[in-house]
Subunit: 695 residues, 2 copies
């Protein structure tokens, strides 16, 4: 060997020496090796897109005027679900996606929606006079649906009036008046939803319900809305209402229990005033007067008598969800979903078109990134839902139809409904996403002040960087969180806008009041888009379960203050302790793995495995049996509780309080304890999903 090596050689000699041959082979090896392990990238030279300059690039493509133009186009005409104008809006969104070169598809369903035919309201006063009260709005232009409550039964009622404040059970107790057979008038307020007002009135024997918004301005607006119980198509509870699929009959008990038995209607504050100011009977209880703007001094019953008629029809309608898909390069079977509903009660400038405009702008800006060679690691889907106003119908049918793939492949669902209602950043999320939200809001400029981030002004607002939880059923995140257990976020600017669900919710209102410079739209779009970029591109999912553990600990403490000694929270405390431990371990593992370079297949595989665990945790909180009496709701940490004001978490436990009033003390305690056990087991499941190991 030594001899050969020592011999002088010429690498270009015609008769190649062993060494020269060896050298040439080496070169080829190296080249081959590079060819295999470093294939040509499509990224535009000179700078390849890394995650940080990708985000800068995304932020730099914002344009308030573009969003404004989208909103203008979306609000040219009303687009109520199931109507022809709505189909135009569908085509507009679809063509926007396709014009950007995005892969699109639609999912079509047949669902039972509800429309008004006629309504009338006449007041007969004690002095013998009577007046026909207006049930339409001055702003109601062509195509604007008359005010109504979707899924209210038709009916005709002549009866005395009683004012029931917010219409909560406690209001009826404080009222101390027998309302059976009466028409009750309630003001809309706080956490207590429209459906709950009607349900409570029905329980108390009222013959009909009229609900008005007691706002400072736009007192001539009528708040439309649905009064259905549960969400999704009532004829296909738990499954998708597809053409040719199973559809229950209208008389099926499962269907009947979804609808109220007494008719209801929205009123404008003006109309309500004209009635309420004429009431006699007992004076309005002191504790109601605080925030009360209506000219009402007495609660009735009567003497004023109302003659109220509502005729409506429930009918099958075709609804369509629209999707734009950006396929992932490395993990195409992992999905980040951005969703917003498209249907509106009227022009829907705020609700939901501000969100739809934001979605269209995200599409525009992502397509720019794609043009520059960006390929997200995971698949991103932009979702435009239909018939949300009728009870999250479009998103719910889709979730029910895709449950098995959603559950195992979806990283997160990011919802935007009313993107902009006014000033101030608001966000809700499942707690593992808290950290990501804080991080992202630091990168986005505040729309209402110079040189300040969304994070900073949000921190300065009262409540600081408060992140709400997703226990409500008031937007499309409900099915994702509460039925499918998908980590979710809901973002919006401003809250409680006065023209909610009225004909005044128009482009002009947005331009004059909601977001004159459309910078709040820009801010929402920035946060929404960056969240998705992280979730789609970070090689390890930006989930933090330590904050989830802290949140659960908080709930445990709040619960222990509510409960007497008879119930043991020990199982709950133990399960949270286990979850916190698993969270800490996962966090350490995650930080270690982040440091490892990804060129190595085994590291890729280990990251995928860790991500699978991070994705699975939320599913642990689901329980196959769901909430008692409302089994469709499977999530035992977040979901609608019958007593929302007391607890907005652990809905099963919360329900067991209210249910427990009618039973013996022993049964009461046992029922609560059982629900505590169920939640504890759910948290244990989540912990074991995070650990990923068998016992």
């Amino acid at each position: 060997m030594k001899n050969i090596m020592a011999r002088p050689i010429n690498v270009f000699s015609t008769k190649p020496s062993p060494l020269s041959t060896w050298v040439v082979i080496l070169v080829l090896c190296i080249l081959g090796f590079y060819a295999v392990y470093f294939p040509r990238s499509n990224a535009p030279f000179p700078t390849p897109l890394n995650s940080s300059n990708l985000q800068t690039l995304f932020l730099s493509t914002s344009s308030n005027s573009t969003i404004a133009s989208y909103l203008r186009a979306l609000t040219l005409h009303p687009h109520l679900a199931g109507t022809e104008p709505a189909a135009d809006t569908t085509r507009y969104v679809l063509s926007h996606f396709t014009s950007l070169g995005l892969q699109t598809h639609t999912a079509t369903y047949r669902a039972l929606l509800s429309y008004p035919l006629s309504s009338s309201l006449t007041a007969h006063f004690s002095d013998g006079s009577s007046v026909d009260l207006p049930l339409t709005e001055p702003a109601g232009g062509p195509g604007v649906v008359q005010p109504y409550h979707a899924y209210s039964p038709s009916g005709s009622v002549q009866a005395r009036v009683v004012f029931v404040n917010y219409g909560r059970e406690k209001d009826y107790r404080e009222l101390g008046v027998n309302v059976s057979g009466c028409i009750v008038i309630a003001r809309k307020g706080g956490e207590f939803g429209r459906g709950a007002v009607v349900e409570t009135a029905e329980k108390n024997g009222a013959a009909a319900v009229l609900i008005y918004g007691d706002g400072e301005t736009w007192r001539n607006g009528f708040e439309r809305g649905n009064v259905m119980r549960g969400i999704g198509d009532p004829l296909s509870p738990g499954w998708a209402g597809v053409e040719g699929g199973e559809s229950l009959g209208l008389e099926d008990s499962e269907v009947l229990k979804r609808f109220p038995k007494i008719p209801s209607m929205p009123l404008s504050a003006e109309v309500a005033d004209s009635i309420l100011s004429s009431l006699g009977g007992a004076p309005v209880p002191l504790e109601w007067r605080g925030a009360l703007r209506s000219k009402v001094s007495h609660v009735g019953p009567g003497p004023t008598v109302l003659n109220f008629t509502y005729q409506g029809e429930k009918k099958m309608a075709t609804i369509q969800n629209v999707f734009a898909v950006i396929k992932g390069s490395e993990e195409p079977d992992r999905y980040v979903l951005l969703g917003n509903h498209r249907d509106a009660w009227t022009y829907g400038a705020v609700d939901p078109s501000s969100g739809t405009a934001a979605l269209l702008d995200i599409a525009r800006r992502y397509s720019i990134l794609l043009g520059l060679g960006w390929k997200p690691r995971r698949t991103i889907i932009l979702c435009s839902w239909d018939a949300e106003e009728f009870g999250m119908v479009g998103s719910t049918e889709w979730v029910e139809q895709n449950l098995i793939n959603l559950g195992s492949k979806t990283v997160a669902y990011l919802n935007v409904d009313c993107a902009v209602q006014g000033p101030g950043f608001f966000v809700g999320s499942t707690p593992q996403l808290d950290s990501l939200i804080l991080e992202v809001t630091k990168k986005v400029k505040d729309p209402d002040s110079e040189d300040v981030s969304v994070y900073e002004s949000w921190a300065a607002a009262d409540g600081g960087n408060n992140i709400q939880r997703l226990s409500g059923v008031d937007s499309d995140f409900a099915s994702f969180v509460q039925h499918a257990g998908i980590p979710s976020i809901d973002i919006y600017y401003g809250r409680d806008f006065p023209v909610y669900h009225t004909a005044f919710d128009s482009y002009n209102w947005m331009a004059e009041h909601g977001d004159p410079f459309f910078q709040r739209h820009v801010a929402v779009t920035g946060v929404w888009g960056l969240l998705a970029l992280h979730l789609a591109d970070d090689s390890i999912l930006p989930f933090n379960y330590v904050s989830y553990a802290n949140e659960l600990q908080l709930y445990n403490n709040r619960l222990s203050n509510l409960l007497d000694q008879k119930t043991s929270l020990h199982p709950l405390a133990m399960s949270i302790q286990e979850f916190a431990f698993a969270a800490k371990e996962a966090d350490d593992e995650l930080k270690k793995l982040r440091l490892q370079e990804t060129a190595d297949c085994s590291v890729d595989m280990r990251k995928r495995a860790l991500n699978d665990r991070l994705m699975l945790v939320e599913k642990g909180f689901l329980d196959a049996d769901g909430l008692q009496g409302r089994q469709w709701f499977k999530h035992l940490v977040f979901g609608p509780s019958s007593d929302h004001e007391r607890l907005n978490f652990f809905p099963g436990i919360s329900d067991s309080f209210t249910r427990s009033t009618s039973i013996s003390e022993g049964e009461r305690v046992a029922a609560i304890q059982h629900e505590v056990w169920r939640v504890s087991r759910a948290i244990h499941r989540a912990a074991s999903a995070l650990r990923g190991e068998f016992t």
Copy 2:
């Protein structure tokens, strides 16, 4: 450049030229490259372990004498679940695993088991004579539990006797005798289980039930067994009965409904004969006489009167599952489970120790492979379950506790209970595993004939290569298939052995009758071990959904023959069509991907993604609401139906037939149609899991 290249160089010159430096760098690169991409393997040179020589190697390590020695050790004493001798068996299995250097752990539960205290049976004949009948076996040595039915209530009954054949509903109809208040005697037979016999007797008003095995031989044996409804610990239905966990009270309605209300006992055929031969009343119906060995000519009631007493106790016992874990190298978070129960009614040579011996031998043979450098791609877990005889308690509690990880990470569960009962290969499986079973049985030698594979002699047997389905609840696969939706297999040699659950189920019986040369044990172990090697090592899972689709089509045809025109099977046909299409697509994709070399990370990732889909499909057949009235059973294709003889698939549909007898024709049809819809949607879910795409 040319000059330099042309210049003669000496790679060992003290002052290295650029080229020499370059060459040295190249060498280092290459070495580094190899070091990184081909780390030192533990495989013994010269041959690295590839899948084919690995299998040959595995087969070559078989040893009938070793298995025999394991069985000898396991059957030295009875090992009834919850007793001290059983704890010795637990230690024996655990120490076997650890002595092989395998990583082990145990999972401990507290469950409600049931034991006898005393029993007596006296017959009073018409001639005034009476006799105390023996309720023990000659073979019953020290520690053998007296014959009883676990979970039978205690009770004392004096009543006339009626013979009810197999004790099925149809038998009572054919009998035409009112049995209310009587003690009924039934012979064990066919598909109709012990629990069902007791339940049907109870429905028909009997005061007590005595069940005997009408076999040709060992007519002095008593068949022990449990008569509980449902499976798993009755005090923790749906969750794991862990120390300190929630445990329902014995008087809880959920618990009470699990137990019969009338006492029951096993009888030997001898004892049964002495009673039955003395009966008067109507003659035994013709159609019962065929396979009837007992000396019974009349069915009663009486004149013989029995005085029957049983005293038992239900008490909390500690049970332990034992696990040996072989961690996967590339996909440690994917699991292949091999399971067998360890507890026995008596010595349990066949049931289950023949399977336990096989499991211990698998451990021995796998540890040899590990010593030779084998590293399975996925994790393999050997599972030794406790308290199966009391209703699959050990495996069910474990499945309930690990449901979330099982569902997302388990490739398959391979069960062996009574490994050898006699001659002839038998297997049951979920249909995606059919092809693998056929392939593997071709590689294993038939134990009873020369130069023939298991496959060939199995093919020659009547029924050919018949693969049963896993709708029964008679072994530990039940929870895996019917609650968790895990692809599963169940393997055994021989069937219906005469000493089933008697004190005669001993090592001697096995050595003299069951498997004198222990070659059948070797065959079972070979098939079991090879199946697991494929499932753990094949880079793409050996699942074939085309056979699943064919099986479903078969069910559809059988169903259509049973149903009248009023029910539409169109939805079912459509869903099966969609599933078949998805199966074909997946099969093509799978074949393409198999050809691709795995050194490439992206190919690895694509294979993992495909495997994820292949694993998910079975979960599609699960329905959160489960079977009506037995919601714990979630699988809508395979599960126990109330009318097993008519349909052993689609249990929900089958139930709707039997339930439907008590309701109106319209409701009957609607109920059946609704169940057809549910199954159709389940098949759609499975298809979409296989396609892996959203609608």
